[in-house]
């Protein structure tokens, strides 16, 4: 540490991190004597070749769940300042947060009724 200083240490780690993957890659290539052939690259579905390309647009059905998760996850942010002042404010803070959570819970129940949590 004293020899290199903080910048020197950071630089050493950076250079080592650059070299390590190159070294491992080179080692792997040196040990591997066979090259990957065209039939080996084809995706396996039981022995028949694919007829169309796999660039396929499909409905990412989990997006509703992902959005709902994000929305409710963000509400948790409000809990941090609340936790800080919770002891100072006392029971009144508890009641206030209870109201907030109740409103959120109604939202969850609504989403549930709208069947957003079902995959199909």
């Amino acid at each position: 540490m004293s020899l290199l200083g903080p910048v020197g240490v950071a630089l050493t780690v950076f250079v080592a991190a650059l070299i390590a993957p190159l070294f491992l890659r080179g080692l792997s290539d040196a040990l591997n004597r066979a090259s990957v052939t065209a039939p080996e690259r084809v995706p396996f579905s039981g022995g028949l070749p694919p007829t169309v390309h796999a660039w396929s647009r499909y409905h990412a059905r989990y997006y509703v769940m992902a959005l709902v998760f994000l929305a409710f996850d963000m509400e948790m942010v409000f809990m941090y300042p609340w936790a800080v002042v919770f002891v100072e404010e006392g029971p009144i803070a508890f009641v206030e947060m209870g109201m907030f959570i109740t409103v959120l819970l109604l939202g969850v129940l609504y989403t549930w009724r709208e069947r957003s949590f079902e995959w199909s």
Binding site: S45, G46, V52
Partner: protein, 441 residues
């Protein structure tokens, strides 16, 4: 060099990873390899060191077999397990193939091939097919996809999937996909031409049975039933064979549901099953019911209506949908034992599991009580998959409803339903060929 020899020696001590291809007459023997020490059957050739080709491979499957061979990563070796059947074309394409003709030598042969491969004594097999892309990269277009625009053109020379309406009212790609004939979760030889919208099967078309022209011996588990077509057979023998068959099916189904360890235990029970093991089977049935393993993953999935199955003689599949169809009812010997078929009503995948377990228990009970009693009816026998008649098998008749039973399901459910139908293209072919040509006494 030192490093690679150390790694090679470590790898040689590990279990041999085997991708097994079951030809005609070999599906049971291949499944039993799960009980062998030092082998591990894997689900994709990518994860395998050794390709095991067992049983008769008809010419129609020669090319898919070559593709499977070339899909194994290096180093790779192939072992052929050919008890009394001619080896496939692939043998000629390899320089030093291992061919095993007896049943005892197969596990040591696979282990040896794996060990020699890892220590470098055996060279990795070169590809059988030419090393060229089916449709080479052309590199035209702004995104290098061979056309213009994000979805235009033909990437790697393969056309893009076409558009179709999806279940949410959107117009998205419908991907044509052919699965099989060596897809490990399908019965060997089955090829389904599917159209997939995301993970939903929109359309399924089954190709012809590749084993149809093969006049081979059927799997050992089926032989008592085929014998019963032409002569009286001891009921005890038939019923133990039926219970074994159902447990073997259960082992497979558990594996398909990623419960492989339990599957191996069930398989071990199946291979040694006697009429006195009824208690063990009952305990197994209780465990599966109690843990709700079935209900959560298979309840309500793939419901088949009795109208669809009526008259197909589809055995357990029909009885799980409430049809009390069973050829055993017409046999006086079974009548003397007071046989009544079990029929459940729900008709979904979970019910087909439950029914087979209940039938296994019932079969062991019949076997215990039957003594020396023999079947009286010939020419029509209730096999473990349904009613067997000369020239007609339950699998053949069930194939007609396969597309309808999986269309509209998600892929995982479709595989679960296919597994629960217990198809065997091999059996379909064996039933079609007259017993004399098959060499069954």
């Amino acid at each position: 060099v030192v490093l690679s020899s150390v790694i090679g020696r470590l790898a040689a001590g590990a279990d041999a990873r085997v991708f097994a291809v079951a030809g005609s007459g070999a599906s049971e023997a291949v499944r039993d390899l799960r009980l062998a020490d030092g082998l591990r059957l894997v689900d994709t050739p990518r994860a395998a060191d050794v390709l095991l080709v067992a049983g008769g491979i008809p010419p129609a499957l020669a090319e898919p077999l070559a593709r499977v061979h070339d899909a194994l990563a290096h180093p790779r070796a192939t072992v052929f397990w050919m008890p009394g059947v001619p080896p496939p074309d692939l043998v000629a394409a390899l320089s030093a193939p291992t061919i095993v003709t007896d049943d005892d030598g197969i596990v040591p042969a696979v282990r040896r091939a794996h060990r020699e491969l890892m220590t470098g004594e055996r060279v990795s097999e070169p590809p059988v097919l030419p090393d060229e892309d089916a449709v080479p990269w052309r590199g035209v277009g702004p995104y290098g996809q061979g056309g213009s625009g994000m979805t235009g053109g033909t990437p790697y020379g393969r056309p893009m999937a076409e558009l179709g309406a999806d279940r949410d009212g959107l117009r998205l790609d419908v991907l044509p996909l052919s699965v099989g004939p060596f897809f490990p979760r399908f019965p060997s030889g089955l090829v389904l031409d599917l159209k997939m919208a995301g993970d939903v099967v929109v359309e399924a078309v089954a190709r012809d049975n590749p084993f149809a022209e093969e006049a081979r011996r059927p799997t050992p588990g089926l032989q008592p039933f085929l014998r019963a077509l032409s002569q009286p057979v001891a009921i005890a023998e038939l019923e133990v064979a039926r219970a074994r068959h159902h447990l073997r099916w259960l082992a497979d189904a558990l594996l398909a549901h990623q419960l492989g360890s339990l599957g191996v235990r069930v398989l071990r029970l199946a291979t040694t099953l006697t009429p006195d093991d009824a208690e063990a089977v009952e305990r197994l049935a209780r465990t599966l019911t109690f843990t709700q393993v079935l209900r959560w993953s298979t309840g309500g999935v793939g419901r088949l209506s009795p109208d669809l199955l009526a008259g197909l003689g589809a055995g357990p599949v029909a009885r799980a949908s409430g049809l009390a169809e069973d050829a055993r009812m017409d046999d006086a010997s079974y009548g003397a034992l007071g046989f009544e078929p079990i029929a459940l009503v729900e008709g979904d995948t979970a019910t087909r599991w439950r029914l087979r377990l209940a039938e296994a228990i019932q079969s062991l009970d019949l076997a215990r009580r039957a003594g020396d009693l023999r079947t009286e009816q010939v020419g029509r026998v209730e096999g473990p998959r349904g009613t067997l008649e000369p020239g007609s098998s339950p699998t053949e008749r069930l194939m007609a409803i396969v597309p309808r039973s999986i269309e509209g399901l998600e892929w995982g459910d479709a595989v679960a339903v296919l597994t629960s139908l217990d198809l065997s293209l091999d059996e379909a072919a064996a039933a079609r060929v007259p017993a004399a040509a098959r060499g069954v006494a």
